[in-house]
Symmetry: D2
Subunit: 346 residues, 4 copies
């Protein structure tokens, strides 16, 4: 039970899904033009435009750190600031990447509820200072689904984007787990993005079953001016681009992206359901996407670790995160649930 | 003859080689720890240390732009400068990436002979200015094999590194085609790097048959301090790192990296031999690695294009670059050579 | 009472002191070599070395934003972080300058008591995260005197520097009001800096009576390597440097720097003493340097404004900052105190 | 003859002119609001608008390095490039400042005639590369008067700006010696800037008689968006701003800026006239502004140095630059000319 026990540590512990793999295999035939000037990249971009029902600008970057940082730096200058939640990945887990790519844009953390920003919390930060001694707020970034497993509803997104428009702020969505959000809400990608006022989406491929590669979609096309140069300069233009784009074709052409999100979400629901009645185990956040956050005694967590289970505990004392992914096995979920019950003396 | 005709445009038009593919396939089993904390990454690093016969520090980046820029920025500060040849890829084809990653380090171009820097040309640039109004030279970067297909000999490398030591300069090697250099000289990787005084090598994987991924090897280990943070912040830390490192295991464990270089070099020799006696066709540079640079009348080049052949002509009027790669087919080489002869009226 | 009423808004509302002015006048004779290669700059540097009783490296920058940001960026790389108090000027009032100069170093705010960091609060932040997803702590910056008018004692500084050494952190002091700290404690500049383990001090000249210009003193000389290039590249090398350095000669040669600090401190003590017994007025922080922070009803503050007084209220609801400077007039202090008493119904 | 002999080394060896000094003296009365929110700064800005006959945006920076670098970085992004002449100060003497402030914008040097760019040389560089592997040209910067003492005519400026408009390039003027250009041509500042299509001018104050301080004038006002934040973040916002702006009032209100330029130009003409017939002395560039560039035998230059004269020789073997400034004395010019004649055996 060594390797399987790692299944809940992170959704990027998973491998490449069959659809992405098959597309890479097909793409690996003979020579192709480099730097995105190939048929696979064109096809992937078209799939995105079709899926999102709009003629957006599509770019590819190697990972989420870069995709989000590049997108944010295209939305503001170094003396501007970016409003995010205290739990936002760009704030807590990117080693200063947004500040590096933007040459100094400061992240301003706003209060969040279940990991979600609100018009009120954005307004509070955006209006706090109006003098040149403090970086001028210019962007809001939200994560969908959030880092604590919650999901913004379309009306929440619309309320936020209206606040942004009123305050002159661009709106960016970190969609590392965008598929899980779509799966949870049953909404179309368009409803959760441009129809709700999102300017730019970073659509995560890695957690959805790819080896590398995130897509950056500009719904507000004029913000994408010269973005290809930005990617190139920042070391994010793949020479053999087809191997970043072909997997997207695999994920998008038959809806695998959504099925993977649904499966991961389903496993999270299963886990939370199975432990719902275990005394001493508290759900820290509503389970809406693929993560389950449990409050448990530290000693119990230690026993779980001794049984070989791996999970993150960055959420605070006694908080454990269990992530499900596209390939999480239901049997493992049940084993984990049983072990949780066991260590809790259930 | 459409796709095959692109075989000489660039060595990054090629796909993934069988050895890298097989390793990826093996690596794609179950879950693995992310961010390089996996068995494949450990194995790849060990293979490098074995191959280079030294306990170097090993890192992985997504592409050559990033690998070289990160390495250079670890060797100097923003107010320092980097000496390179006029034809260096970092100067001509990285869209200002070295300047971006280093926050402003200026590239100073030095005269080169057949694309190679010399102690004299380095000295000339390094000693030209000694005042604080000009960025202080701190690094020399050389490309092995060079952008025009030539290869530095071990004694040339030693002479350069002695000059660097004397002048207080760090020495970086862009090894996008390092395998071709090793193949041509029959030297060991150690002889062409740390034994000759190289501080850092960026060893290219993409042109050698990988989908993505370059290795950065610090022979001067103290220059590698906190380099892992640098990679992370710059968006170059892969979450599913195994898919960057496993292909290296595939390339290194049975010598495929060298065989690929030998094959590409062989094809270049074949091509240059086949057209050596064609009147009006001049070799622009000695053929030592996998590129053949031919001076031909513009009209003849146009005819070649009309026949479907693709090649770069950035070298100046009438200059054409034909690149061979790990999967170039000899039959194609012969076809190309025949067409060159034909368009030249031979 | 228009202009005088602004005397308490900020200590940089004051002009050039007579000693600085006289030195500028003397320096303005004939031609002098540019860029710091002049006699005044040499003299100023020597005065600093004498005053601090050590052979430190001395540089000059135009203002405090730049001096502190340049110093911090010489102490860390972009992927490192800087620990500061929540009230630190670099965090709250520099518009992201430290992040800009360092190309992305993140500021991590630590708890402070009366504006002062403690070994415990530094340790808490420095040890919170040890993974590469978060910028590695590399520098601590403290402000002496602090932004809320308190002053670190030599033993407090020593305790902090010991913590820094233990944790591998460089220690920087923002000394915008360093003179006021020396004046309050009666300690020598050496006791409050290198003898207590400070690596670099930015010694503020502007608030002490100069037009422009801050001095940067490296007690840890090896950290100053190529710092002159850093200043030049960042637009902080004055061509007519003598006009930045001569005023320092004026301030340092006869102790004016300390007298100015003493005077400003004295005025602050006078003000706080005069309002100490006014009911409803609370001192927010101990008065140790040249600032007096009073908690008063918002309505009373409004009445003070109506009487023409200017002061900052960034400290929170009902908090007002009254700053004294080298040229604050005692008569104005008494008028202000009387008006405070009056608006409070005293 | 020690200090006077330095009069020709650089125009920034001179001190503060009487008009600037008097204005500083007046400005040094009592307290004033900081950070440019004072009457002197408002007055200086108004003087500029009047002088240039247009409602331009006016900012102040400490020196030319910063003024030009900030202006350039407001005109492009890091992945863009800036076209300048090979002799441009931003290329040769700013230690990579433009690259630092812009986070990596590359300077592309174009051929120049007598230090001046032409539509053809701009076009050549701007159109050379159109691919994303090379930074996209976005700005042209010209120096008026140039670094070799020549001056662009209004029609030359217009031709350049038309080329810029056609190619989508912003046009910046480094006016470190703008006063000398106006003085030479007898043109109005408006004719040499916005009427000729200049977007932004950096108007040099230091070489014109100030201690510190350059003005940045945006004629294209929308390019100035949030430029005040840019200045602040980059350490270029003076707290006691009145001491940067008041000298401008002194220079502008009675035309001193132009008289100073005329005087310096006159001295240069005098010098070049006096040595015109000395055998073996060749004028390297037409004398149009305040610099005289003479080709002389190295031995003769050495003799001049031995007589105590100081001058720059960066122009190449045997080339010497003699700069005149607002306070150059005619007697010194005649002495220098006589010595030149003497050392040449005349």
């Amino acid at each position: 039970m060594t390797e399987q026990s790692q299944q809940f540590a992170s959704d990027n512990y998973s491998g490449i899904c069959p659809e992405a793999w098959a597309a890479m295999e097909k793409a690996n035939q003979g020579h192709e033009r480099a730097y995105g000037d190939d048929q696979w990249t064109a096809r992937a971009a078209d799939h995105f435009r079709q899926l999102f029902e709009t003629d957006c600008e599509v770019f590819f970057a190697f990972n989420g750190t870069a995709a989000n940082s590049l997108a944010l730096s295209s939305l503001c200058q170094s003396y501007h600031s970016v409003i995010c939640s205290e739990t936002a990945h760009v704030e807590t887990d990117e080693c200063g990447a947004p500040e590096f790519f933007s040459n100094g844009s400061k992240l301003l953390t706003a209060r969040s509820e279940n990991g979600k920003l609100t018009p009120a919390s954005i307004r509070e930060v955006a209006l706090k200072r109006q003098d040149i001694h403090y970086p001028k707020p210019r962007v809001v970034t939200i994560t969908q689904a959030t880092e604590v497993g919650s999901v913004y509803r379309p009306e929440e997104l619309k309320a936020i984007s209206e606040t942004c428009k009123e305050l002159g702020l661009n709106l960016h969505m970190d969609g590392a787990r965008f598929a899980n959000a779509c799966a949870f809400l049953g909404c179309s990608p368009a409803e959760l993005t441009w129809k709700a006022g999102i300017d730019v989406l970073c659509f995560g491929g890695t957690k959805n079953g790819m080896a590398v590669g995130e897509a950056i979609l500009f719904f507000n096309r004029k913000l994408a001016e010269d973005f290809d140069y930005r990617c190139k300069q920042a070391g994010q233009l793949a020479s053999k681009m087809r191997f970043l784009s072909a997997p997207w074709v695999g994920l998008l052409e038959n809806g695998a992206w959504l099925r993977h999100g649904q499966h991961a979400n389903h496993c999270a629901q299963l886990l939370s359901g199975l432990v719902a009645d275990v005394p001493g185990v508290e759900l820290m956040f509503p389970v809406e996407a693929n993560g389950v956050f449990l409050q448990m005694p530290e000693a119990a967590l230690e026993q779980l670790r001794n049984k070989g289970w791996r999970f993150y505990t960055f959420i605070g004392s006694g908080g454990a995160r269990f992530m499900c992914s596209w390939d999480t096995e239901e049997a493992r979920v049940r084993e984990l649930a049983a072990d949780i019950r066991a260590v809790m003396g259930g």
